[in-house]
Amino acid sequence: MKLSDVTLVAAKELRETLRDRRTLVVMVLFPLVVYPLVSLLMAQVMSSHTARGQARRSRVAVVGPVAAAAAVRARLQVDAREFDAGVLAGVGRADAAGDRAAVESGALDAVAEVEPGPRGEARVRLVYDEARDESRQAHDRVGAALGGVLAPGCAPLFSLEDQSVAPRARVGGYVLSKLLPLIVVVMIMLGAFYPAIDITAGERERGTLETILSAPVSRFDLMTGKVIAVATLSTITGLLNMTSMSLTMVEGIRLVGATTPVAIPWTRAASTLIVVVPAAFLFAAVMVAIGAMARSFKEAQTLLTPVYFLCFTPSLIAGLGDWDLTAAAALVPGVNVTLLARDLILGKATAGAALLVVASTLAFGALALTLAARLYDSERLLAADEGTLPLGAWVRRLLSIRGDGAAGSAGGEAVTGASVLASTPSPGHALAVFGLGYVLLFFVFIPLQSWRLVPGLVLSEWVGVLGLVVLYARGTGQRLVDVLRVRRVPLRVLAGAFLVGASAWAVVGLLAEWLAPAPPELVESLRRLVAPQGGRGLALTLALVALTPAVCEEALFRGVILRGFAAKLPRLTSAVLTGTLFGLFHVDLWRLLPTGLLGVVLSLIALEADSIVPAMLAHFVNNACLILLVHEGAVGSAGDMSRRAQISLFAAGMAVLAVGSMLVRGKKPRASAV
């Protein structure tokens, strides 16, 4: 082996690979951004879910001779938070058969059948349903309460034996319901992954894009055909996995020598088919839409990998927790199909819920398909590549090593030698700056704010967030006012922005309250941020919680990020993407929806007015309204209001929002640089 040749080849390959920005994104930003985000969101959901589960009191009835039963009741009543006192006390119960039926039907979680043992202990036969989570929880609680109780002389006071009322097929269904939905959804996504890339970016790479674009077929028809093909393949993947998984489970249980073999409820398992097809359509459409944006197979893979993880997260959350398929959950893509598949296997799905899930999944799929058709735009696909930002040139410019004087010059026609610097933000820049901001958020801003809230917040926002924008502008040789689009706008637009800010908090807050209400702990922590114990002056709170984000966060999101997306993508797509990133930046699952929606509204204002100023004003007014309300003690959360008051507030908010939007839109403002 010739070592010099080996190192030569290795050095060349490394150089080439590291010059590919997309490889860097996957290597660096992906683990730094996506993993913390997913784990943090999941931790929030799981802890809130666990807290709710622990707060639930188990419904356990105790039957048997009076004295023995009383001893068991007394023991279980020691921790009043775990057992429903009313059910426990259940006077006059003696009919064990009736109680067993109640366990089977779910009216009771468990029945403790007590009889005196030969050595004076109480023998407890715990009748429960091992195919139901609440019943299993009751079983564990009774076991913990009675298990370690010893009389003087160390003889156990209680002896415990289990008896499950669940038939074999129900147990099989229960085990299957824990594994199958998540795995099927993940496999459907995986089944869509490569075909979606192959028929979009692959078509371009193989040189057949122009062939098909010159054929008399509309873009929407073309994309619909492609999505159907991908959905078919991913449906087949999902079905094969479902069958294989079910058979493996039966065989696996037999192999480990389980004494009570389980049975697969085949009809119910097959009924999950109604989830597979819409889910396959949705994921196929999402992945085809992302693939349609990519210029090459490799770029599509780079773009789709994080999307795959983000699509997978809701299903993971739904699969791990014991959530109810509520109307709101039925509208959340990923979560809804996972929960419906589980309910179908358990045999507790309702027709209404199934219909809602299928309809909402198909609707989201149709939305993604429309987006795919818009993104598969020949103008964009065939146009020249966007200007690149070589890392070395960027750093040199940042440090002003190269004395070309272009840094900070107007216009940004920044062609210096071989280094081509972008003159305006691009989608690549938007994602890179967001990724960098996100890494800082996780590893610097959040620790800073946990250390000391006020100085941490000031440093994070004014030095961190705004500093990042300033560095970006300096590094790319653009004027900050150009990057941010700081432009004067007519008074009419400012008045509109004021009205939007004055109403957006109510509209998005109520929508979030109805669709995904935040847990009381979060409402309380937000209230503490705005009005801490010991008090903080109103002016300081306004400066910290309204003015600071209105300037710094707007500069990042409605400045670099929105302008970057809008340079290549349609307005609405850019606004939705920016809003989503804005929501994610608040690293809180419950605030994702309201902040995301607010982000979309602010983005639309900035785009309509072609200036960041009204977006900043609306952001300030929105936050200021919330602060003033909390300071006045007017609101805790919308949950404290009556439904009628909520609807009235929402209607009023929508009306003001509509007037504000109309004022902002008006006719195109003739903006001039400040």
Partner: protein, 258 residues
């Protein structure tokens, strides 16, 4: 019924952001005519042809194929068009016959019509030996002949051929030129874009010279040679016409070979 069956381009302009790719371009191609569109790399040929194929939208001006406005009725325009460029590849995992059936159906042809046209073209373009082979297994020449069949399967009124002889050997190039002449004689309007000026001279009835998005000269090969002071070949005529242009500030000189 549409009034015209040729190509009409009127004050066509196409911008990509700040870059001007095609600048106020006008020309027309009559049925039964081969029009050569020549110019150096970056002259705007490919952009013009993509606008004509209704793949790109014109920024200004208009273009009609067989009377169909490419911006207003892109599907109608594409039905009249056979489009073959260096970027119109074939589906590698389909056989030639499957590929022709796919595009035939997209053009709304009946299966019987597709079969009849396929048989006719297979004889004319000598496709029979490999028509049932997958495209990935074909040689460059075989692929190009299949591409031609794909472009003319629906018997379009207008043919756009961009560099159709690139990579072909002498025999295959000649075969293709003969085919194009045959299509012209059947009344098709043909736009033929090439870098081989000798080939353009052999084939084209009229030629338009594009430079930096503008049409700088137009006429028959003989007229173009005459307008360049009696140049002996089209290549010489082209070079002298481009050299006579005032250089735009900051623009590099055009490449020597068009």
């Amino acid at each position: 019924m549409k009034s015209s069956s040729g190509v009409a381009v009127l004050h066509l302009t196409k911008r990509f952001g700040a870059a001007l790719a095609v600048d106020d371009l006008s020309f027309s191609v009559a049925p039964g005519e081969i029009y050569g569109l020549l110019g150096p790399n970056g002259a705007g040929k490919t952009t013009t042809l993509r606008v004509l194929a209704a793949i790109l939208l014109p920024t200004d001006g208009r273009a009609e194929l067989a009377g169909f406005d490419v911006a207003r009725d892109p599907l109608g325009a594409r039905r009249q068009l056979g489009f073959l460029t260096g970027s119109t590849g074939l589906y590698a995992r389909l056989s030639g016959r499957e590929l022709l059936r796919y595009f035939g159906r997209l053009h709304g042809m009946s299966d019987a019509n597709i079969a009849a046209r396929t048989a006719l073209l297979a004889r004319g373009l000598d496709l029979e030996p490999f028509l049932d082979r997958r495209c990935e297994a074909l040689s460059t020449g075989q692929r190009q002949r299949l591409s031609v069949a794909r472009a003319v399967l629906h018997d379009p009124a207008v043919l756009i051929l961009d560099e159709p002889t690139v990579g072909l050997d002498v025999l295959a190039s000649r075969f293709l030129r003969e085919f194009v002449r045959g299509e012209r004689d059947r009344g098709k309007a043909v736009i033929f874009s090439t870098h081989y000026l000798a080939e353009a001279e052999l084939l084209c009835d009229r030629i338009g010279l594009l430079h930096e998005g503008r049409l700088i000269a137009e006429g028959s090969p003989a007229e173009l040679r005459a307008s360049a002071g009696g140049a002996s070949s089209l290549e010489e005529a082209f070079l002298s016409l481009v050299a006579a242009l005032p250089a735009a500030p900051g623009t590099p000189a055009p490449e020597a070979t068009p």
